[in-house]
Symmetry: C2
Subunit: 147 residues, 2 copies
């Protein structure tokens, strides 16, 4: 029934459980899994946290660090999905807004299910505005499994 | 992986699609399906719509009508799930608040997945407060599939 499952992984416990559930679904449906870890660009973080701008070089190296951390998380999740028996697993990283990036990536890749943790790291940024999982379900027509 | 799937059915197109997806999942997992149609008690509707109170007898007959409509919807959804190949399907109706009733029923029955349409009939009641699917994911620890 599902052919291509996108799992959003941000390193949180909820996202870890989402990987497990996606792997179980992949095993019984034969679906492939796309793990996506979204990171914030340094410039976006900076704009939201401070008026102080670093030099371009500092910004670049911070972005590099965030990309590296995201890559490590995505690869960790990919390894876990394989460990749990999913056969086709790929890992991706993208910079940007969590929910919008997840939804546009799912559309771009033709995913027919999005799996997200109910309380990811990103949810702390906007408790009153709703969590990332709420935003994802609001922004997409693709079925969303909230773990 | 799933053993007992609760599908919330309110007669909306989204809920109809939720029945279809739940039936597919039931077929590949062997899970049983519990269809739940939640209706509002007359007294709750009345309180929210009007200051005019009907007699107890009128209230009673309105509640009876709403129960009958809910029963018809739940049975229609049950028939559809069976038509789509789900083997074990039961239909239930409950009066009360949509999201809270769905979540407490799922807990009571030991369901390991809740399937809901993303835009049910109930969502019009609280657009600014979030839809029923958002409320369900906020209120439960059980995985929720939003269709």
């Amino acid at each position: 029934m599902f052919k291509r499952i996108l799992v959003a992984y941000d390193g949180s416990n909820g996202a870890w459980e989402a990987i497990g559930k996606a792997a179980e679904l992949a095993k019984i449906t034969g679906a492939e899994i796309l793990v996506l870890t979204v990171y914030r660009h340094h410039s976006m973080l900076e704009a939201s946290l401070s008026m102080v701008r670093g030099s371009d070089r500092e910004g670049g190296s911070l972005d590099d660090t965030m990309r590296a951390v995201a890559r490590e998380a995505a690869e960790e999740a990919k390894a876990q999905a394989r460990e749990l028996g999913a056969e086709k697993v790929q890992a991706f990283i993208k910079g940007g807004n969590y929910a919008r990036t997840i939804v546009s990536f799912a559309r771009e890749k033709g995913c027919d299910l999005i799996v997200v943790g109910s309380r990811g790291l990103g949810s702390s940024e906007g408790y009153m505005l709703g969590s990332v999982s709420h935003k994802v379900t609001s922004l997409t027509d693709t079925p969303v499994l909230v773990i």
